[in-house]
């Protein structure tokens, strides 16, 4: 366990309501993730895994309980403040890559920096550095359509890392990739982990989860530490 928690969930409940029907996706989850930890969150679909990811990524707020990221209480924030928090503290990697097809690789990568208000010249340099760090220094001007799935996901990782976030949050990053590309991507995650960044990786694949230093299983809205490892 980490001595210095950067992510702290205390008794987090999340209830979705659609009219009369209420559905509790998370039943009081508490979790500490320390600086530099590589944590896999695994579980079958419908377990509350995605809800947990949305809350960790500040895309959604808990109905009850407390969530702190780098000492800041997320519960009290409005839309604008949450956007700023995501901008500075969280880098997302999605299953479908989510690159903007009309923009070149480096323009995609610089997007978070433009929302953070970084000057254009500096943005381009940092975007190119980030692309080089994932081995795509020669593809900076290519559009997503001209890149393979593995390459697109590497662009997405570069985009997630370019703003040097507290947390790299990956949602099934290998879900749409073939075995070779998936291995490559996981290799990059190992590298990012060694560089000291905190990673939370959401997956349903235990082979992927096992590569992380710590794994958490979500089942029926609660979590089991180290689940599935036995």
């Amino acid at each position: 366990m980490a001595d210095q928690a950067v992510l702290r969930l205390e008794n987090v409940r999340k209830v979705y309501s659609a009219g009369e029907i209420e559905f509790e996706a998370l039943h009081g989850v508490s979790l500490d993730i320390g600086q530099g930890e590589y944590v896999a969150v695994a579980g079958p679909s419908g377990s509350g895994k995605s809800t947990l990811m949305n809350i960790l990524g500040c895309l959604d707020v808990a109905t009850e309980g407390r969530y702190e990221i780098a000492g800041q209480d997320v519960g009290q924030m409005d839309e604008s403040e949450l956007a700023e928090l995501r901008c500075r503290q969280i880098g997302f990697v999605f299953q479908q890559f989510n690159l903007l097809p009309s923009m070149s690789a480096w323009r995609n990568v610089e997007l978070p920096l433009s929302y953070a208000g970084v000057a254009p010249a500096q943005r381009r340099r940092r975007a190119i550095d980030a692309l080089e760090s994932v081995g795509l220094g020669d593809k900076i001007d290519n559009r997503p359509g001209q890149l393979s799935g593995g390459q697109q996901q590497r662009v997405a990782i570069a985009r997630a890392l370019v703003s040097e976030p507290t947390l790299l949050l990956a949602d099934e990053p290998t879900g749409n990739l073939d075995t070779a590309s998936a291995k490559e991507i996981l290799g990059i995650f190992d590298q990012v982990h060694r560089a000291g960044r905190t990673i939370v990786l959401i997956t349903h694949d235990w082979d992927v989860a096992r590569r992380a230093g710590r794994s958490i299983e979500v089942r029926d809205g609660t979590i089991l530490e180290g689940g599935g490892r036995a």
Binding site: F94, L100, Y115
Partner: protein, 413 residues
């Protein structure tokens, strides 16, 4: 994100669905071009009318026989009665009785056939006095106007309009030539300089003779002498600011001469150029307001087009909006991006519409025969309105985009 980048992103988005954007822009374009053309047509017609009224001469009062409307609501024989005479004209022309009147040109005219050998041309022949060129602001291209002496002798002299001279003699250098009217030979003493034709009166196809000659030989009534009937009397005031004094003098003098005590029973009516201009202006203003109203509806439809395309765009790009939000875009940044896009559509439509409107204002007058005045305030106003339409009709879609929850937006397929 800076404004420059927001604008670039907006333009990229517009280009990425080019066909839809072009159709939306065309909607705005038509509205803006319609506004510019209708305003221009209104102003142009107004200008034409003012010009044709002012082409009568300057600082003019126009006296016609018959009252406009009698007290009992019965209209006098407007223009057809013969209540005005050469005596009236002479009295009004006296600088003692009417110091503010610079000149009087009584006119009587009829259409006759002019002959030069085998060449035959029908034109309006006007009988008048030597004051005519001054009062009607006409100059001579060649020769001289007839003289007072020629007028008193009822000499067979005639002054031709440029068009009439060309038709009869093949040239405007017709002074000194002669022509015949009803077997009587007339000497052409002068040719008038061209004035161009307005819509209904051709100012260059006419012939002018002394009133005495007209009354004795041309007029069908054949009443010669000073009592000869006058159809219209043009009175020129000494200056623009003595026009109303001249009006008073003319009215008083004519009433005295005609023995009229009750002004509502007057057997003549005096109108001023200004009154004609302001009547015409009022008519065309109403017309312009109507046309601009129609154009405004076209613009409104264009604006609804912008709103429609922006709503489609927001729906289509829900996932992109979600992603941008996940990457740290604030709601205000998203709203701004869509507003810029809508405004850009309005601006492009506005500028192209202004271009089309101006091109139409240059090309159409040749086809229509009426002038279209490009009003720069209207052009800039129309472009500003187009931008405003983009902003106003873009606000709702942009706000909707800004309010999308990132989780839902990202989940959208």
């Amino acid at each position: 994100m800076s404004w420059g980048e927001t604008i670039r992103t907006g333009l990229t988005a517009i280009r990425s669905h080019a066909m839809r954007s072009v159709l939306t822009i065309v909607g705005i374009l038509i509205g803006i071009a319609a506004v510019i053309l209708t305003v221009g047509l209104g102003l142009g017609t107004q200008k034409d009318v003012s010009e044709s009224i002012s082409s009568l001469g300057s600082n003019l009062l126009i006296v016609r026989p018959g009252s406009a409307t009698s007290a009992a609501g019965i209209r006098g024989g407007f223009g057809s009665s013969t209540s005005l005479t050469m005596d009236d004209a002479a009295a009004l022309g006296s600088s003692l009785a009417a110091p503010d009147i610079a000149g009087v040109a009584p006119e009587a005219s009829t259409s006759v056939s002019l002959e030069n050998g085998d060449v035959n041309w029908t034109a309006s022949v006007t009988g008048t006095t030597t004051s005519w060129p001054q009062v009607r602001s006409r100059t001579l291209l060649a020769g001289e106007f007839f003289t007072e002496a020629q007028a008193e002798q009822a000499a067979n002299v005639i002054v031709l309009g440029a068009e009439t001279a060309t038709q009869l003699f093949g040239t405007t250098w017709a002074a000194g030539r002669s022509l015949t009217i009803d077997s009587t030979t007339y000497e052409v003493v002068g040719v008038l300089a061209e004035r161009g034709s307005s819509d209904d009166t051709d100012l260059d196809d006419l012939a002018v003779v002394p009133m005495q000659t007209y009354a004795a030989r041309i007029s069908s009534t054949g009443t010669a002498g000073t009592g000869a009937p006058v159809q219209t009397m043009y009175i020129q005031a000494t200056a623009a600011d003595t026009l109303s004094a001249a009006y008073q003098e003319a009215e008083t003098l004519l009433a005295n001469l005609h023995g009229i005590t009750d002004s509502s029973a007057a057997d003549f009516s005096i109108s001023s150029q200004d009154a004609l201009v302001s009547t015409a202006t009022a008519v065309y203003r109403t017309l312009t307001v109507l046309l601009v109203g129609i154009a405004a509806i076209a613009l409104l439809v264009g604006g609804i087009g912008v709103m429609n395309i922006m709503l489609v765009s927001v729906t289509e790009r829900t996932r992109e909006i979600g992603l941008r939000k996940a990457l740290g875009a604030k709601p205000s940044a998203i709203r701004r991006q869509f507003l810029v896009e809508a405004t850009a559509l309005g601006l492009v439509g506005g500028v192209l519409g202004a271009g089309l409107g101006i091109a139409g204002a240059i090309a159409l007058p040749q086809a229509l025969g009426s002038s279209i005045v490009v009003s720069w305030p209207a052009v800039f106003g129309a472009v500003a309105v187009a931008v405003g339409i983009g902003l106003v009709f873009g606000t709702y879609p942009a706000t909707r985009a800004a309010r999308l929850a990132p989780v839902d937006a990202l989940r959208d397929e």
